[in-house]
Subunit: 497 residues, 2 copies
Amino acid sequence: MYRDRVRLPSLLGKVMNAADAAALIEDGMTVGMSGFTRAGEAKAVPHALAERAKAHPLQISLMTGASLGNDLDKQLTEAGVLARRMPFQVDSTLRKAINAGEVMFIDQHLSETVELLRNHQLKLPDIAVIEAVAITEQGHIVPTTSVGNSASFAIFAKRVIVEINLAHKPNLEGLHDIYIPTYRPTRTPIPLVKVDDRIGNTAIPIDPAKIVGIVITNQPDSLSTVLPPDDETQAIADHLIDFFKCEVAAGRMSNNLAPLQAGIGSIANAVMCGLIDSPFEDLTMYSEVLQDSTFDLIDAGKLRFASGSSITLSSRRNADVFDNLERYKDKLVLRPQEISNHPEVVRRLGIIGINTALEFDLYGNVNSTHVGGTKMMNGIGGSGDFARNAHLAIFVTKSVAKGGAISSVVPMVSHVDHTEHDVDILVTEQGLADLRGLAPRERARVIIDNCVHPDYRQPLQNYFSAACAKGGHTPHLLREALTWHINLEETGQMLAN
Amino acid sequence: MYRDRVRLPSLLGKVMNAADAAALIEDGMTVGMSGFTRAGEAKAVPHALAERAKAHPLQISLMTGASLGNDLDKQLTEAGVLARRMPFQVDSTLRKAINAGEVMFIDQHLSETVELLRNHQLKLPDIAVIEAVAITEQGHIVPTTSVGNSASFAIFAKRVIVEINLAHKPNLEGLHDIYIPTYRPTRTPIPLVKVDDRIGNTAIPIDPAKIVGIVITNQPDSLSTVLPPDDETQAIADHLIDFFKCEVAAGRMSNNLAPLQAGIGSIANAVMCGLIDSPFEDLTMYSEVLQDSTFDLIDAGKLRFASGSSITLSSRRNADVFDNLERYKDKLVLRPQEISNHPEVVRRLGIIGINTALEFDLYGNVNSTHVGGTKMMNGIGGSGDFARNAHLAIFVTKSVAKGGAISSVVPMVSHVDHTEHDVDILVTEQGLADLRGLAPRERARVIIDNCVHPDYRQPLQNYFSAACAKGGHTPHLLREALTWHINLEETGQMLAN
């Protein structure tokens, strides 16, 4: 059943059940697991670890690529396994524990975790748990639906557990391109100059002697839930596509735009779907996660090639894509997240980066992570990797939330993830603000005029006018700057009725 | 007198006086001028332009490399010439005009200005004014003590004015390495893999037909004023050097450390001077500005090679270095600021970036620019270019200012230039906080224990404890978060006596 998946015969003796594999993980260890945007995570071993911890408590530091599916972060949190967690998560149970100060969460740029490991600035994983479709004749690991940080975790860890997941078809092999930057001080340029360049191997090269356990599983990835476009997300998409048309007309981009990156979520999905009926042709993606819209664009003949670090699909597209992978295989590559998000490559290729903001302020500072300045939502993810070096750093959000109780445009953001220096374009359903080459006072006028919901436009204008009267390059009234957030915390809405 | 400096004979007819050259600049134009950290700025033409504007008002958008010397920003501001100014400045008169909203100041990462120009996201300069030591036989421009953005300004501008400054010795020729990234979508890696690699030309290659005026000047750069180390800056240097020793002992760096970048100012100078008596050998710099300490380190046999974008010296070192340039010439290179600060190169080389903070907060967010959240000091400069991609992103500041009325460590910074994601190490004279791999609550404890002045330690601990009791990944009390800044604004001190 799995003998064709473990192609180095000497490793067949390492096959064991999940509980025995989980027993190799000891209290206090640092563990690196596969998994990125709920795709390709190790499934059986973390579940068995959570089960074991119920009877025999233990705590670990867990690092992954990004978010895990199959409620694993929930199970591990409830079992008290997580002392530390990095670099990203999306689980509501874990989120509560993080915000209660029970789990130490290190929120990192997704490109940076393995660079910190490589330089021994983070503790190396004692053990790595990596989901695979196969182990090659050389004992190398073929990842499944994500690469994430799996390659470096497996390379850095002293011991490696492999989960061979029979639910993934073997023809995923060949999709991956594993390139690891060389060591300093003799590090050389990353030789990637086009989105479809292949610069590495199709499997993770490790010494097979490090493989201490192989667990056979048969459990699919979690499906994503992408909301279809609504009136507001459609309006955001329309504004952005109109803007792209203007950029092309002005000669600043060609009709195939520039390599596209889109964050996860319904707004980014609406924007990508909007490209199907656009005049743009021969598009490419250089992104983190390939979602439904990636394959819709390929099917529509609009998208020529997509580079990512994972594939995460909804029920609408999942079976169709993976059952017909050969149709897509020459148009796709999955890379380590260090490479999909690498500042060197992002700047070289000139990405259009589209990411979601929680809120932004008058001057273009963006909060991607913290509700009310204190409570972690998910994490910065790759948004900073892309925004800082993108050709166009675009942030999108609906102008209001909670039925209008919250304005997404505020006098001063309660937490900054992306500074005014890194934000080019802001879009809400109200319109688009082009901040390029503008000073702070000019940015404020463009944002008020274009992005703010009508209910909040006059209050924000009043704040800005009063702040300008007081002076400063970036005018603020410190006594009022966070009042909207304080009101929200105390009354449930940013402004009194 | 200047014929050996203008080596393409057909250009000799373009020599004119400064007033005539300045007359080529028209109202409403965008002008790109040389000048970086008060080195190598065009001198006579902007002065003549300011003089002309007193009688015949005009306004321009002025972009430079960074700050100008010889009071030129002051003169241009007083004459009302500056409608817009980017990407950096240090002049007190201009600063007042920026903070009054009279000059629109666009505060940019220093690596990004010419990238924005290249992509037509900023208006290209109508005219460039570049200081040179010579024009070559090919009509190419040999810069003086800075490269800054001069190369791209000259390449992008339709017309170029060259100031040949006889006060600079001709043997500056050969010091520069002019490399310009290729255009997308076929951009290739920047082929720089060692600090001493030369990858370009020694002069700025332009079509000499674009040179519309040559002005002969004889005026030195402004001298820098570096304060000698005092007890506090010496303590900061000592903490940092002890930290480096620990990093070497732990095997995370070799005894030649990593290429060093140091911002301008007395603290960075003290740190660099501290390396003279350190055990580290065979050091290198990959920085923006080469200051007195660079040459002190070379003379001490400690520094093997220094790459920068300018040389700015005090009266103590200026004459000695430039009179004996041959002694240093094989140990120096000056590059365009796009390359000295390029994220691709900074990440590849693994820089140690040392920059000055105005203030930082409990969680490691750094404000480099805005006093009280509103008033611009100088600009972000290159600090973000280095901090984001550095091997070690270090920020230094004295723990208190204004005789203790201001704490440099605050509950929440009033403006964010560098987010918690980008800051590794914070140092004050009190001690050093190593934030690597820590969650926000852990960072707060390390910062309170190590960096805060004793007068502010208990108040900051009280804030943190109360905020933790309220909860959140990054605990804050929104009603109190900016109180220290409000107190300062209203009473002149952050805390009541």
